[in-house]
């Protein structure tokens, strides 16, 4: 790639039917990065969950908006998800205890087990910019990200 960083950007409608596209792109970027198969599965699911949350909470089900996802392959595997919807209150985002059996509250756990960094960019004025980073392990294969 010469001096330019290895990155790809995708913009899709905030419609759940595009989640399959988001997963395909995430998985292929994982392959290009050299991730092991099981790690790709975790990362793919995590990005799906983060984008599903944008559709549900930032856009409240409005399917006519846009989500922009940027993948940056550097030392780590970085995914930046942008929307122009309702601002999230990061301090209120938390998964529920997994021992409490009821629907919902699993997504955040799935995102956090795949990514080391889960941070909203405070500098964005309208909407949200969520930055997810998975550091490169000794070998991504060895890393046990399971709880």
């Amino acid at each position: 790639m010469g001096g330019m960083k290895d990155s790809a950007v995708i913009a899709v409608p905030s419609n759940p039917k595009y989640l399959s596209l988001i997963r395909a792109v995430t998985a292929t970027m994982g392959e290009i990065y050299g991730m092991a198969g099981p790690v790709i599965e975790d990362v793919k699911l995590a990005v799906d969950e983060a984008c599903s949350n944008v559709m549900k909470y930032a856009y409240r089900g409005d399917t006519s908006k846009r989500i922009i996802i940027r993948f940056v392959l550097k030392k780590g595997f970085e995914v930046i998800i942008e929307d122009n919807g309702i601002k999230a209150q990061p301090e209120l985002i938390e998964g529920r205890s997994l021992s409490d059996v009821r629907p919902g509250g699993l997504g955040i756990h799935l995102i956090k087990r795949a990514f080391d960094v889960f941070a909203f960019d405070e500098k964005k004025k309208r909407g949200n910019r969520l930055r997810l980073i998975r550091h490169r392990g000794e070998s991504d294969e060895d890393r046990d990200s399971r709880q």
Binding site: N15, P16, K17, L19, S20, R23, E41, L45, D48, E49, S52, M55, K56, L98, S99, V101, R102, P103, G104, L106, G107, H109, L110, R113, D144, R146, Q147
Partner: protein
Amino acid sequence: MKIEIADSKGMKILSISGDIDMHTSPDLRRELMGLVHKKMTPILVDFGSVTYIDSSGIATFVEGLKGMMAYGGKLKLVGIPPKVMEIFCFAKLDRVFEIHGSEEDVCNR
């Protein structure tokens, strides 16, 4: 995702194929809760051809199970592929659901 519903000696069999995500889980929810509202039991869900599940899919089955518990119904999940089973394990639901014919050691990796 595709769903086929069959009857076998009073037992309802739901065979699912493809990806279960926030796009397809509303269809699954409609089919499953339709049976639950009719107080069907047992309901067997065949996961053999499921290629992917996310939290919206998991939530749908938790909702179905809760609905069935109200009338003492039985929900059985069969043939869950390892990749999918791993999500049930992570969500600590492998002991909550009645799961048949899946390698449970996926949970103890």
